[in-house]
């Protein structure tokens, strides 16, 4: 048994750490969020240069290896810096879907571009009624000659406002929650009939509501077999779920560190508030939560990289996301509480970390959802 990182993983970790320290302080991040694009193209180019955009891809596809553990290592550091660049939506979700479902032609056209930072993708899978069930798809895909016509509305599409290509889930057959009948299509974000209502999320990213009105795409824009995308979509979402759980582990680590530091410097009643046992125990509990969260994420990452079957992998992801979600509430709320008034302001990074982890708890299903999914699998 060995939980230590490989040399490559250590290098990856250090390179993200260095980037966050040198290029991504709290105020720089705030300025990036205020820009129209909501992310830094310069940073994105640097991600490409540093090879980070290759991490989700296998060596076969020209990538770093495509291991869940690698993603975990990187996302944890992203979490500490609260990065807003569309890494999750583009590289992990879009990239992995194309890698896992695309034909050689699609892969050849898109994956190198993604790795070079020249193509941003987003995945539109959620709908108003679907909650966290990616098999709940009402958006329709109807064949029309050599084309397919898409109609429907997608919600909470992370990275949509910056994407050139949006991967849309749509139903070719079956009832609203059937796994069979769901296809994925590569849709040009500028295609006629695509409208995107862009917004900034509570944790400083860009996302959008995507409406498709008679959007015509060639049948060759379909990823994989007609109506057969559900299983891979589910697996990619699970992988992304692990990634956000790892990101939350990093963000919680920052929350804990900053809270402990603050408690040592903030004085009330003539002494540092960190000397109050009432607060010490709470920070000790935060530490416990952080450790359990990290442990269960490591477990899930290892299972995703193993030969275990799909159900075991899904269970491992749900167990991690559920446990991390529980830790998120505790660590996030306590960090704010122990900071007192300054914790609820926009001025301090702690509040923003709290907002980030709150969003991460929601992403792909909150603690309660994954607890129930775990129990039902």
């Amino acid at each position: 048994m060995d939980f230590s990182y490989s040399e490559e993983q250590q290098m990856l970790q250090e390179s993200v750490q260095k980037f966050v320290m040198q290029k991504y302080d709290f105020y720089t991040r705030g300025d990036i969020i205020k820009t129209e694009a909501g992310y830094s193209a310069e940073n994105w180019a640097m991600f490409a240069e540093l090879g980070w955009l290759t991490v989700p891809f296998t060596e076969e596809d020209g990538g770093f290896g495509g291991k869940a553990v690698d993603l975990m290592v990187m996302m944890e550091e992203f979490g500490k810096g609260m990065l807003v660049e569309p890494y999750l939506s583009c590289a992990i979700m879009g990239g992995t879907l194309i890698a896992d479902l695309g034909n050689e032609e699609q892969k050849g056209a898109l994956i190198p571009q993604i790795m070079e930072g020249a193509m941003i993708t987003a995945v539109a899978y959620a709908e108003q009624g679907s909650r966290f069930n990616s098999n709940n798809v009402s958006t329709s895909a109807v064949a029309s000659g050599d084309d397919v016509v898409l109609n429907g509305a997608k919600t909470a599409v992370l990275g949509a406002p910056n994407a050139q290509t949006i991967i849309v889930s749509a139903r070719e057959s079956g009832a609203a929650t059937d796994a069979d009948g769901i296809s994925l299509f590569l849709v040009d974000a500028n295609a006629a009939g695509v409208s995107i209502k862009a917004y900034t999320t509570i944790d400083g990213r860009k996302a959008g509501e995507v409406t498709l009105t008679d959007v015509r795409v060639p049948a060759t824009a379909r990823l994989g077999a007609a109506g057969g995308a559900a299983a891979v979509l589910g697996a990619v979402i699970d992988r992304a779920t692990l990634a956000v759980a790892a990101e939350a582990v990093g963000a919680m680590d920052s929350l804990l560190t900053k809270t402990v530091e603050y408690s040592k410097t903030r004085k009330q009643f003539g002494t540092a508030i960190g000397t109050f046992q009432a607060l010490q125990h709470r920070m000790a509990d935060m530490f416990i939560q952080c450790q359990l969260a990290r442990s269960i994420v490591v477990r899930a990452a290892m299972i995703l990289d193993s030969d275990e079957d799909a159900v075991s992998k899904a269970r491992a992801v749900s167990s991690a996301k559920s446990r991390v979600g529980k830790a998120i509430r505790k660590v996030g709320q306590e960090a704010v509480q122990i900071h007192g008034g300054i914790g609820v302001t926009d001025e301090l990074d702690v509040g923003h970390l709290f907002k980030r982890v709150t969003a991460l708890d929601l992403m792909f299903g909150n603690a309660e959802y994954h607890l129930q999914r775990f129990a039902s699998l």
Binding site: F132, A156, T177, G270, G341
Partner: protein, 500 residues
């Protein structure tokens, strides 16, 4: 409060047994951890209530004002007492014959009052305001003041003030009914800083002139007050505050820095704790000063909170001249006055009616929220369990509050037990925020605070007010921090109640 009325003591459950056995108590109704003890030396039992004979056919109302008021509280303690009022007999009877009944019915008059409040709210609470509250759009200062003026016209602006100052003179039950009905329709309670916070201090410790000058404008909502206690380095440790007021002829000259002033941007006046003596124990050098916000030398710096709204401010005082006539009570006694205010602040914080309204709205939203598998969140076992848990907690909180009111109604200042209401009330509100976020799911991801402001003309994000869920969750983390943080409240319970 009748000065010759009975005295109810509230005390911790542990010492209750001792006190009960003490010869001074003739009657005790024990509800752990609150114990109400009637002191016989001050109780007055009227002749007509004394039924001859040892056995009682029915119930006897103890005819003294305070007990009647206690009994008319919704959680009425209909006291069955034996007829004898002699001290020894009572002690004996009390031990032998403890069949006190508790009921929670309203009397006919109370029901009539409830109907009157409902009718008033139905007719007078502006539909436009109600709509905004329902859509979670922030009310403007004018709207808040406008609504308070409607309350004033009806004579209902100050339920907690004595009649002589223009208060309602209501019984605790009436106050309870009023705030419940207000909460249930979402009508905002008057902003607390004037009517609930500074006014009781002015009434208790102000001069006649100060009362004339300030109270009517508070009642009519002509003047908006804010609270200037906290400072950057004096939060939980409020007594360490440093803002200085130095006497100079008929004025004080104030220098320093207050912070977290809620709605300071709306305020005409600020009530401040200032340091007037540096040479004594920190609590003993503090004074209570009223300051006109228009005074030269005051500047405000807004502080944006996590929901994107600048609800609080930093307030800087730079050689601000304040007439000494604005000092409340004696110099260096401010801490005593402020503490009284703080406990009053605490009793209003349980927020049960608002909680009930939110619970109802959570149930409604759950029934409208798809679970993603063909059902709704109202059928989701885990969510149902959470709803049930909140409902049960609200019930317990409601009765804890009623029991505190019962103690208050007989003239006691709110005791340390009121910390329970603050802790549980705020944590319950925060729990409901979490549940609102859970229901909203992805719909609470958009950070578009502007859409909950008056006059927003952009495109609405998220169905209904779902995009407000996270904003409210973030903002309401304040509840366990301000008004004496929940840690400080627990310290109070440990020390003042449990004697640790």
């Amino acid at each position: 409060m009748p000065s010759d009325g009975p005295i109810f003591e509230t005390m911790g459950g542990l010492s209750a047994a001792e006190k009960l056995s003490s010869k001074r108590s003739i009657f005790a109704y024990q509800l752990t951890p609150l114990v109400l003890v009637l002191n016989p030396e001050k109780a007055v039992l009227s002749a007509e209530d004394r039924v001859p004979g040892a056995r009682l056919p029915g119930r006897i109302e103890v005819n003294c004002e305070a007990i009647r008021r206690l009994c008319t509280i919704r959680a009425k303690f209909n006291v069955r007492l034996a007829n004898s009022h002699s001290y020894d007999t009572h002690t004996t009877l009390c031990h032998r014959n403890r069949r006190q009944t508790v009921n929670a019915d309203f009397t006919a008059e109370e029901l009539a009052f409830q109907a009157e409040v409902r009718e008033f709210l139905a007719n007078e609470f502006p539909a436009e305001l109600k709509q905004k509250v329902d859509k979670r759009i922030r009310l403007s200062k004018d709207e808040i003041v406008g609504w308070q003026k409607i309350l004033y016209k009806k004579g209902w602006m100050a339920p907690n003030w004595p009649k002589e100052y223009g208060g309602t003179g209501w019984t605790p039950t009436q106050k309870y009914i009023f705030s419940t009905e207000m909460g249930l329709v979402g009508a905002p309670e008057p902003t607390p800083f004037g009517v609930t916070m500074v006014a009781p201090v002015i009434m208790a410790y102000g001069t006649e002139e100060q009362k004339q000058r300030f109270l009517p404008d508070i009642l009519e909502s002509n003047v908006w007050w804010c609270q200037g206690y906290s400072e950057p380095n004096a939060g939980s440790d409020l007594a360490s505050l440093k803002t200085m007021a130095v006497r100079d002829g008929d004025d004080y000259i104030v220098n320093g820095n207050k912070t977290w002033n809620t709605y300071g941007q709306y305020a005409d006046w600020i009530f401040c704790l200032v340091r007037t003596d540096n040479s004594v124990k920190k609590q003993e050098g503090i004074s209570f000063l009223l300051i006109d916000m228009k005074s030269p030398g005051i500047t405000l710096k807004p502080i944006v909170l996590l929901d994107g709204h600048a609800e609080v401010n930093e307030v800087f005082f730079d050689d601000v001249r304040v007439p000494a006539a604005n000092l409340i009570g004696e110099e260096n006694k401010g801490w005593t006055y402020a503490k009284v205010l703080l406990t009053h602040e605490r009793t209003n914080i349980a927020g049960v009616p608002r909680g009930k309204r939110r619970l109802a709205s959570l149930k409604r939203i759950a029934a409208e929220t798809d679970d993603g598998f063909g059902g709704t969140m109202a059928d989701n076992a885990d969510f149902k369990a959470q709803l049930a848990e909140v409902e049960i907690e609200l019930q317990a909180l409601e009765y804890a509050e009623l029991r505190t009111l019962a103690a208050l109604s007989v003239g006691k200042a709110p005791g340390p037990e009121s910390s329970i209401l603050k802790i549980v009330g705020t944590e319950l509100a925060q729990k409901m925020d979490e549940m609102t976020v859970e229901l909203a799911g992805y719909n609470c991801l958009p950070f578009v605070p502007e859409q909950f402001e008056e006059g927003f003309e952009g495109e609405q994000m998220g169905p209904g007010s779902s995009a407000a869920a996270a904003l409210s969750y973030f903002n309401n983390r304040k509840l366990s921090i301000f008004g004496g943080s929940n840690e400080v409240q627990r310290n109070i319970i440990s020390k003042a109640v449990l004697g640790l």
